[in-house]
Subunit: 406 residues, 2 copies
């Protein structure tokens, strides 16, 4: 990976770059099938673009490495995904617009269900509605007050993320993130303790133990959501701004909180919430003259992959394809269509398989790819390369990188 070296070559101009990111785009065939989701989709517009663009396969983090959404998006945005890795708590906090300070410790929360013995029976509290989550966060904010000596001077904040997911922020001096996650990632066992993983985290561990006890007492009268699970502990962290790194005025069009948070962490402006993929395309049309770089995030490809629903994931790809002429009509100088990682329906989870990419620009050198699919992209002109190199390629095709050396 080339790292931040390209930053020194950046020049500004009026060209426009669009990254259309279908979350979890890459796939593999189902056990009885031969085609991936992308290969199976009827997508005439993407195929037509593939013919005149350059294609390839991207490794988000490395060979064999299954990326979480955080590192995968950092790689897409041109950042080293290993050096920039952060706990999901920070991403979630950014996604809910929490006013962060350097003294904050963030963590991601699942509302969950435990039985009378304290054994987990549902890690997602029956996929709680967002409104219920908001009511519970208000209730916790009113009733949970830390009172132990360890917690002296520490404030606690509860914020709804979406459905069963929330964010807790602790604000205080010398809080640490080196703690065991309490989500055991399975039901039928009790939640884990927030054990300190280094001696310096002992006080934070004690504060969290008190917090969990008081939350459980407060939620005891709730039917489903009578427990919380904590993971993704992360202290506040500042990242280099994408605008200053690459000389771009950037806009993120994304509806799921974590992706809005990720974009905000690298300094993107965030489009107001929309509700459908078509509305995301409309948002792009409206904002097109005002920015240089657009990150458009389509979430349902990943969700349907995680559901194991091959056909539904195919349908999402086809829905995006049908909207593509609206994007092409804007004539962006560089259009990239790719995913952040693979989420094969056959595996019902993120996977390590490299991600198909298509880069369309007038300066593309033709390759022999005739259709946008994984086994075609293997033959493409980009070959197989680290995802973090993609941003430099997009900048180059947008005439935004100057020559290196005399």
């Amino acid at each position: 990976m080339q790292g931040e070296f390209v930053d020194s070559l950046v020049v500004k101009n009026g060209t426009k770059i669009v990254f259309l990111v279908l979350d979890g785009l890459g796939g593999i065939p189902m056990p009885d099938g031969d085609l991936t989701e992308l290969e199976a989709a009827v997508k005439p517009h993407m195929d037509a673009l593939a013919k005149k663009s350059v294609c390839g396969l991207l490794d988000p983090v490395g060979c064999g490495i299954t990326p979480g959404s955080g590192p995968a998006h950092f790689a897409l945005f041109g950042y080293d995904p290993i050096k920039t890795n952060v706990g999901r708590g920070l991403l979630s906090a950014t996604g809910v617009d929490f006013p962060m300070t350097p003294r904050d410790l963030f963590m991601r929360v699942n509302f969950a269900t435990v039985n009378e013995e304290g054994v987990l029976t549902d890690r997602r509290a029956g996929r709680l509605a967002t409104e219920e989550n908001e009511r519970l966060c208000r209730k916790l904010a009113e009733r949970v007050h830390l009172s132990s000596p360890a917690a002296a001077g520490v404030e606690v904040f509860f914020r709804t993320e979406i459905e069963y997911r929330a964010v807790i922020a602790l604000r205080g001096d010398d809080l640490r993130e080196e703690l065991e996650e309490t989500d055991p990632q399975q039901t039928g066992v009790a939640p884990l303790a927030p054990r300190a993983l280094v001696p310096e985290a002992a006080r934070t561990s004690a504060i969290l133990a008190e917090l969990i006890d008081k939350v459980r007492e407060t939620l005891a009268d709730e039917g489903k959501a009578n427990m919380i699970l904590l993971r993704g502990y992360a202290k506040y962290h500042q990242f280099p701004d994408m605008g200053s790194r690459f000389g771009l005025k950037t806009l993120a069009i994304a509806n799921y909180p974590m992706y809005r948070g990720l974009a905000r962490l690298v300094g993107m402006e965030i489009n107001p919430l929309t509700h459908t993929i078509a509305e995301e395309f409309a948002a792009l049309e409206q904002a097109f003259t005002r920015y240089d770089f657009f990150f458009m995030h389509v979430k349902p490809t990943d969700s349907r992959g995680e559901d194991g629903n091959f056909e539904a994931k195919v349908k999402v790809i086809e829905e995006v394809d049908a909207l593509l002429p609206r994007l092409s009509a804007l004539k962006p100088d560089v259009l990239v269509i790719t995913g952040d990682h693979s989420t094969p329906a056959a595996l019902k989870s993120h996977s390590w398989h490299p991600v198909p990419v298509l880069l369309a620009a007038p300066t593309c050198r033709p390759d022999r790819v005739e259709s946008f699919g994984e086994r075609d992209c293997i033959q493409g002109g980009l070959g197989r390369m680290p995802m973090a190199n993609l941003m430099a390629l997009a900048l180059a095709h947008a005439q935004r990188l100057t020559k290196f050396g005399a």
Copy 2:
């Protein structure tokens, strides 16, 4: 190359991984031919596997770099081949089961022939029989005694490796490995002196000069083996254990001492010696339930390549192919077939050409490769990548790597 980062993602399970390594597998056509050895071989089972697996080309050390067997195998086992490179003497010592101590300096020995003027006429002493080598080592152990002041307190050990190859170990304080090899790599010239390459190696250089003098006197009455050539100086060195790095219980099935030694250096258990390729497959069958990872080493592909015997190398590949159904019947979760490097018969030596690889697992994404050969692998889904990344891919397909980041 990704390095040791993947180690932090390792999880354990019951899956089984087999690396079937045909030494020197990669080839090029003979001057009057069009096919490589692998392309020319009739190998229906490998071709059938290639259709449902993912293929590619591996660079053991880097583009244009011809690897020795040491670095090539370290790369196969997931180690940085440059950082872990060690003198061949250490590998040979491990291969002959020498009881090593941290005070030891090892070197590889060729028994050789010089004429009356001291000029080399045969670098391998007529490819000496192993029994003769053993007799010579006993003779040297009895008669060679270092007596110079420089050698005070230094012990010397002679060990037979195979045919014309032996190992010498010096044991003492402050021995150094920065010395010129005495093998000039050609006949018609005199052996070189074991010159010190750094000032700190001057004493070791003097000890070796005395040793060579006394060995030559002792061998003066031998017909062919009247001289030794030294190379691969290496001090004792400890490597991270493959079992602890990757959470694998590992077995090496290899018959040539150096490969057994290499496997031992990374902590593999070593199967008892077998004598034919068929016996190696039988050994795998017998051990299959007791280990997670199997390194099966087939030597004759390399030997026939070094002989320049294209047809004989093809025959070895065909012999392995005929045995492959026995391996497939064991249903390993991940089966990798590859080489450690290329040894084209046309060059009669190791070469820098990347090495064909086939990785078969239920989670493979299909590519368009229909046959296992170099020009097919170029089109494969693995693309061209560093060999040291292969282990991470195998672990991923064996479900032994967890997700990176949230």
